[in-house]
């Protein structure tokens, strides 16, 4: 498992180095947006990975409620923590892109609002996990919260199609490709790099949670031996 983790880390590094080089150095500026289009190569992968993190959290939560597997619970917990990081990244880079593109840092547009709600759900999930004493109850309630919160995921994804928003519509949809190949290739490379980075991060975080539980268990055993 640890060796596999290392390969994911290495692959993420390679994809991100190549992707960053293409995004910042070799890809051309956009006809309409000029140089600011380069923000897309970091904003879109952040957004996609944020959705992927929530999807992992949702599936992990379903699995946990069904099988009560603590390893899957650790994985869900890890996906939520890492998901917060990617969602914050999505909102920050989107805000920076919004200023030159829309002349505003923030607007209560359907896509932006639903992404912000996703962040709040993830933070609520982590807070729930932080403040409960009974670990089994904590895991169960957190899984239920994650499953309820999943309602927001299709809203985030399809908001640009369902409502008339300031945010641009999907670039890749049933209507076909709305992006030129010169811009699409660096975007795909960066996206793959972000997926691999996400996988690497949740592998590390899952192991961290496992070790933390081991240490907690040990401390608990010592306390029980002390007959306090």
């Amino acid at each position: 498992m640890r060796r596999l983790e290392g390969w994911f880390g290495l692959a993420a590094a390679i994809f991100l180095v190549v992707g960053l080089y293409m995004a910042l150095v070799s890809s051309p500026p956009d006809y309409y947006q000029g140089e600011t289009v380069r923000i897309m190569y970091i904003h879109v992968p952040f957004a996609q990975t944020s959705l992927l993190a929530y999807l992992v959290l949702f599936l992990g939560s379903l699995w946990y409620l069904w099988k009560k597997d603590p390893v899957v619970d650790n994985l869900s917990h890890a996906a939520a923590g890492v998901g917060v990081f990617f969602t914050v990244g999505e909102l920050l880079t989107g805000s920076i892109w919004g200023k030159p593109a829309w002349n505003t840092w923030w607007t209560w547009d359907a896509r932006l609002t639903s992404a912000f709600v996703l962040l709040l759900i993830l933070v609520a999930y982590l807070m729930l996990r932080m403040f409960m004493d009974d670990q089994e109850k904590e895991a169960r309630y957190a899984a239920i919260l994650a499953i309820i919160g999943f309602v927001d995921l299709p809203i985030v994804y399809f908001s640009v199609e369902w409502w008339r928003t300031l945010h641009q519509p999907l670039s890749v949809s049933q209507r076909g490709l709305a992006i030129s190949q010169e811009l699409l290739i660096p975007l795909i490379i960066m996206s793959v790099g972000f997926y691999l980075l996400f996988t690497y991060m949740i592998m590390i975080r899952t192991r961290m949670l496992y070790l933390e539980h081991l240490l907690e268990a040990k401390k608990g055993r010592l306390l029980s031996q002390a007959h306090l």
Partner: protein, 172 residues
């Protein structure tokens, strides 16, 4: 274990180095293909080379001719204005009071700038901000997670978790 930590720091040193190289290449590309002079800078240090000049098209100065590829306007800087004879594509995008980047050559004899291409203002500050705010926290986050994981391993190993513990009060 100390060796593992040394290897960990070396690996992260390499990551930092590669990140700095990409940042340097990005900056070089910015200097070469994106950054531009203001009309004031060009008029103070006239150059024969092809340059990009960033300025505002002075209100009322834009004259378009029947030839769709030609236009004349004054490009306004902070204190000085630069007369521009534009001969190139996209003259439709030229408007009074618009901030533009004109690529071309300055001819000191005529005092005019002959533009051949027009492009949008680079807004590179926003691009740099987005990448700095995206990549640096990601690296810090990952570094701290990996470091914490290694420290946890050390703690678990030192705690000899799977061995029966002998407590001080057991010995008494």
């Amino acid at each position: 274990m100390r060796r593992a930590m040394t290897f960990f720091y070396i690996r992260w040193g390499a990551v930092l180095l590669v990140t700095l190289i990409i940042a340097f290449l990005g900056f070089q590309r910015y200097q070469k293909d994106v950054a531009g002079l203001t009309p004031d800078q060009l008029l103070q240090n006239p150059s024969q080379d092809k340059v990009r000049v960033i300025g505002i098209i002075q209100g009322g100065s834009l004259i378009k001719t029947d030839d769709k590829n030609r236009a004349f306007f004054l490009l306004q800087g902070e204190d000085k204005t630069l007369p521009v004879q534009y001969h190139g594509q996209d003259t439709d995008t030229l408007r009074d009071l618009k901030v533009v980047v004109i690529t071309g050559r300055f001819y000191a004899g005529t005092g005019e700038f002959e533009g051949e291409a027009v492009s949008l203002i680079p807004n590179y500050g926003f691009v740099a901000a987005a990448y700095i705010l995206g990549i640096i926290p990601a690296l810090i986050f990952l570094f701290l997670m990996e470091r914490k994981l290694r420290l946890l391993y050390m703690e678990v190993k030192e705690a000899r978790l799977y061995e029966p513990e002998v407590m001080d009060f057991d010995k008494e």
